[in-house]
C-alpha cells in the first residue's frame, strides 16, 4: 500500500478528486493549506488599497489517498492529468509525494490492509 499526497491549486480540487474516483480510489481527503514552492507569492493590498505587498505563502490544497501499490502509476497519472493547467502546465500546478504505508485499519470492522482500503 502506498500513500499519494498531491499538492494542487485549490481550483483544481474538483477535477482531481473526480479523476481519483474514476481511477478506482476508494476514498480521499482534502486539506486546504498555504505554502510556497517555486511559484511566486500573491500580491495583495496592505495599504488601504494604495500599496501592495507580496505574500509568500499561496493557498494550495493537499489531496491525500491510500491505494494498493499496483494502482500507483494509474493514480499518479490521473492526478497529473487533472491538476495541470492547460497542455503545458504552469509553475504552481503542484507536486505529488508518494510514500509507503505499513498498515491500514478500518475503524468500524477492524479489517486490515487491502481489505480496509
Amino acid at each position: 500500500m502506498i500513500k499519494i499526497e498531491a499538492v494542487v491549486r485549490p481550483e483544481r480540487v474538483n477535477p482531481v478528486v473526480d479523476a481519483l474516483i474514476d481511477a478506482g480510489c476508494g476514498g480521499y481527503h482534502v486539506a486546504n493549506v498555504s505554502g510556497k514552492g517555486t511559484q511566486q507569492g500573491v500580491e495583495v493590498f496592505t495599504g488601504r488599497g494604495a500599496t501592495t505587498t507580496t505574500r509568500a505563502a499561496l493557498p494550495k490544497s493537499i489531496i491525500t489517498t491510500v491505494v494498493s501499490a499496483s494502482m500507483k502509476d494509474a493514480v499518479v497519472n490521473a492526478i497529473i492529468e487533472a491538476a495541470k493547467s492547460g497542455e503545458e502546465g504552469q509553475i504552481g500546478d503542484g507536486k505529488i509525494f508518494v510514500s509507503p504505508v505499513s498498515e491500514v485499519i478500518r475503524v468500524r470492522t477492524g479489517e486490515r490492509d487491502s481489505a480496509a482500503l
Partner: protein
C-alpha cells in the same frame, strides 16, 4: 412645511441606502468565498457611481418635465431643485428631499441585477454598465411611473414604492445579463453558499431598510406610512413562512437561506402594493409571493439558466406578482376583488412595457460593452478559477495562511 414629514423622509432615505450593504451581504454570503469581496463590491461601488450620476444628470432625466417618456436637462447638477419649495413634486416635503429619497432607489436597483452575473463578470465593465444602465434604463422607467407627466402615471398605474421600476426592471435586466455573460465555470456541480449567517444578516438589513423604502414612499409622516409599514412586515413574514414550509415539504429540511429568500420575495411583492392594500391583502400577497417565487427558483434550476442568485425568480416574478396583486387587492372599491379590473389592466400594461423595455435596452447596452476592445463582459477563465477577489481586487475575504 411639515417638519415631521421632512424628518421621516431623511430617515427613510438613510434606511433605503442601508439596504445596499444589506444586499451586499445577502449576495456576498450566497457566493463562494473566493468571490465574496467582488460580490459585495458590486453593491458598494454602486453607492459611489450611481450617487454621482444621480446628482449630475440622473434625477433630471427621471423627474424633469420632458414629456411622457423621459425627463429633460433642467435639473442637471440638481440645479434649481429647492430644499424648501415643492414646485416639482408637490409633495409634503421639499423637492430636494424627494431627490435624495429617489437617489437611494436608483442605487439599489442596478445592485440587485448583480446577483445574476455574480462570480464571473468583469468589474471594470460593470462600472461603465452602471452609468449606462441608470441613464438609459432606470431613469426613463422611473419617469414613466413616478413623474407627473410620465405615461404610466397618467394612465393610472399604481406602483407605490417601485415594483415595476425597481424589481421587475432589475429582474428582467438580470435575465439579459445572465444570458449574455454565460454560465459560471463548474456551476453544474452545484455551488454552495459560503456564509449562511451573512445571508440572514443581509436579508434582515434589507427587511429593516425596506420600511424606509415602502413606508417612506408616501413622502409624508402620516397614516399611510403606518399602513405601508404594517403591510410590508406582514407580507415579508407570510412569504418567509411559506418558503420554509414548502422547502420542508420538498426537501425534508427547513433552510435558512430559503427563509431569507422567502422574506425578500415577500418584501418585493408588497412593494408596489404597500400604499394601497390592507393587512389581509398583505397576507394574500405574501402567500402568493412565497409560492410563486419558490417554484420559480425550482424551475430555474431545472433549466440550468445561470441567474446565479435568483434575481429573476425573486425580484422579477415576485415583482410581477406584486404589480398584478396590487390591481387585485387595492382597497377603495377599485380592485379586482371589488369587481373592478381597471387598475389590474393598467398595472399589466406597466408590467409588460417594463419587461420589454428593460430587456431590450439592457441587452443592447451589454452587447455594445461586449464588443468594445478592452472591455468585454467576462473575466478570463484563470481569474474566474482563482476567484475574482484576488484576481480583480487584489484582496482576500478570508486570510488563513498564518505565514505572515
Amino acid at each position: 412645511m411639515d417638519s415631521g414629514s421632512i424628518a421621516w423622509m431623511l430617515v427613510a432615505s438613510a434606511l433605503v441606502l442601508f439596504m445596499v450593504p444589506g444586499l451586499a451581504f445577502f449576495y456576498g454570503g450566497l457566493v463562494r468565498g473566493k468571490n465574496a469581496i467582488n460580490t459585495i463590491m458590486y453593491s458598494f461601488v454602486a453607492m459611489g457611481v450611481v450617487s454621482v450620476v444621480w446628482v449630475l444628470w440622473g434625477y433630471s432625466l427621471a423627474f424633469g418635465e420632458g414629456g411622457p417618456f423621459i425627463g429633460n436637462f433642467d435639473f442637471l447638477g440638481l440645479k434649481d431643485v429647492s430644499a424648501t419649495g415643492t414646485d416639482i413634486h408637490g409633495a409634503g416635503v421639499p423637492d430636494l428631499g424627494v431627490a435624495i429619497f429617489q437617489m437611494m432607489f436608483a442605487i439599489i436597483t442596478p445592485a440587485l441585477i448583480t446577483g445574476a452575473i455574480a462570480e464571473r463578470f468583469k468589474f471594470t465593465t460593470y462600472l461603465i454598465f452602471l452609468v449606462l444602465w441608470v441613464t438609459f434604463v432606470y431613469a426613463p422607467i422611473a419617469h414613466w411611473v413616478w413623474a407627473g407627466d410620465g405615461w404610466l402615471f397618467e394612465l393610472g398605474t399604481l406602483d407605490f414604492a417601485g415594483g415595476t421600476v425597481v424589481h421587475i426592471n432589475a429582474g428582467v435586466a438580470a435575465v439579459a445579463a445572465a444570458w449574455l455573460v454565460g454560465k459560471r465555470r463548474g456551476v453544474d456541480r452545484g455551488v454552495e453558499p459560503h456564509n449562511v449567517p451573512f445571508v440572514i444578516l443581509g436579508a434582515s438589513i434589507l427587511w429593516f431598510g425596506w420600511f424606509g423604502f415602502n413606508a417612506g414612499s408616501g413622502l409624508a409622516s402620516d397614516g399611510l406610512a403606518i399602513s405601508a409599514f404594517l403591510v410590508t412586515n406582514t407580507a415579508a413574514a407570510m412569504a418567509l413562512v411559506v418558503w420554509v414550509i414548502l422547502g420542508h415539504i420538498h426537501t425534508g429540511k427547513m433552510s435558512a437561506v430559503g427563509a431569507a429568500t422567502g422574506a425578500v420575495a415577500g418584501l418585493v411583492a408588497i412593494t408596489p402594493a404597500s400604499g394601497f392594500v390592507g393587512p389581509m391583502g398583505a397576507i394574500a400577497i405574501g402567500l402568493g409571493a412565497g409560492v410563486l417565487t419558490f417554484y420559480a427558483v425550482r424551475i430555474r434550476h431545472k433549466f440550468g439558466f445561470d441567474d446565479a442568485l435568483e434575481v429573476m425568480a425573486v425580484h422579477g416574478i415576485g415583482g410581477i406578482w406584486g404589480a398584478l396583486a396590487t390591481g387585485i387587492f387595492v382597497v377603495g372599491g377599485i380592485g379586482l376583488i371589488d369587481g373592478d379590473a381597471k387598475v389590474l389592466g393598467y398595472n399589466a400594461v406597466a408590467v409588460l412595457s417594463t419587461i420589454a423595455y428593460s430587456f431590450v435596452v439592457t441587452f443592447v447596452i451589454l452587447k455594445i460593452l461586449d464588443v468594445i476592445p478592452g472591455l468585454g463582459l467576462r473575466a478570463d477563465d484563470a481569474a474566474e478559477d482563482a476567484g475574482l477577489d484576488v484576481s480583480l481586487h487584489g484582496e482576500r475575504a478570508y486570510v488563513g495562511d498564518g505565514a505572515d
